[in-house]
Symmetry: C2
Subunit: 253 residues, 2 copies
């Protein structure tokens, strides 16, 4: 038995025309999602919006009302298209201020790189009331304001900021997953999957078909916050697959 427990949720806003034009393949959704899982927080929704203030403001206000935490990636650099700080400040109804610690960080970072200029100083701007998220990869910090986290768009800098936040956020029981692979068309075992999931109410089963080496197969991903229920559900599923005459591969194919 697991006791009922609060499920902590997060929203993510990916900001940037480069994702919406198809020029850049987003990597932050998967990265933030995986990191949140380990913190015991579920990524509940992602929105990708352009570099347009009104669109960022609308997304921030929708998602911060809906979930416990809100993350953004992108738009906190030095150039004219970096408008995330202004948009978030507008959404919160607070002014944008220069954070003195961010200014000091940037002064040190750029001391032997030509010094601070107007563009670089933009990266010290924060919505009033914010703290910094340190970032060892580049001078510019991320920004935390309560349950709102503004992070870089460049994936390895985002990674450094997530690293700085690891273990800092309250979360619930991490969602546990087990994957079972099988060389079977998912359509052959759809009824089995439905029945096994229905019999294990704390578990969800996802079915992810693939085509490889000229054959069809599927990975069945079972998720639960209870290790005991997860095991019982996986056992029922593998028993069912065996009864239907299908070999399965623990860990997935």
């Amino acid at each position: 038995m697991t006791s009922p427990e609060k499920i902590w949720t997060a929203g993510l806003i990916v900001i940037g025309d480069e994702i919406l034009s198809g020029r850049t393949q987003d990597k932050n959704i998967a990265q933030v999602a995986s990191w949140l899982q380990v913190q015991g927080i579920r990524l509940a929704e992602v929105r990708v919006v352009p570099d347009v203030e009104s669109r960022i403001v609308a997304a921030v206000n929708d998602l911060r009302a809906a979930f416990d935490y809100l993350f953004t990636t992108g738009g906190i650099g030095p150039t004219h298209d970096d408008i995330t700080v202004d948009a978030v400040a507008a959404a919160l109804g607070v002014p944008v201020v220069i954070h003195p610690d961010a200014r000091a960080l940037l002064e040190r970072y750029y001391a032997n790189k030509g010094g601070l200029n107007e563009g670089r100083l933009r990266m010290a701007r924060v919505p009033e009331g914010s703290e910094l998220i340190l970032n060892r990869m580049s001078g510019a910090p991320g920004i935390r304001r309560g349950n709102l986290f503004l992070m870089a768009g460049v994936p390895h800098i985002t990674a450094g900021m997530l690293d700085a936040l690891t273990g800092q956020l309250e979360g619930g029981a991490p969602l546990l997953t087990e994957t079972i692979g099988c060389w079977v068309a998912e359509s052959e075992v759809a009824d089995l999957l439905r029945r096994v999931e229905a019999a294990h109410e704390t578990c969800q089963i996802g079915s992810y078909p693939f085509f490889r080496e000229g054959r069809v197969g599927a990975n069945f991903v079972v998720r639960s916050t209870s290790a005991e229920d997860l095991k019982s559900c996986c056992d029922s599923l593998t028993d069912g697959l065996a009864t239907h005459g299908h070999d399965f591969t623990p860990g997935g194919i």
Copy 2:
């Protein structure tokens, strides 16, 4: 001079717990975005939502009201977690029906693979009033209902469905882009970028920094629907970079 022209826009809803858990790296956002560019349609917003009917319904109703076209990927397979058709039908307020042509397609496809069963027949279900989007990769079709397009989640099947739709949708002038690469910290030329963009009102300049081989650089992406304005903006930008003493690389680095 370009004449004022309608800008055609699309929303995309990526449906699936596997993206939100970080298990699967989404590839459909970039794929749909690039395809839309060629059709003269701008991807204006993406939402990633879980396999939960109420959340899909909300996203469908928000985005179909906001944009000219709406695409979804994921959740149209044979298993219990494939609920896109039901959610979209609920959003539109129409019943789910079996499409006779889809049923016939699936009967042929599965004739020598064990025949239709309950799970496979799920893939013939459509919101009433829909047409099919044919798919050479697997038996199951995508679904079109007016300006709403329901596509597969598996990227190479999505690709086949996009291929079937190529040239079928009304769009505007394709957005043209030119990329100029430069081994410069974007923070050094932020003011130049801002001034050049301001001087070319039909153009947007995006700045995408990178770190490679131990050096910083950036690609500047200039976008416009006017080839003439695009060239003029790129010329101003490369002149400015040269004036600042920076080499540039047409086509990007």
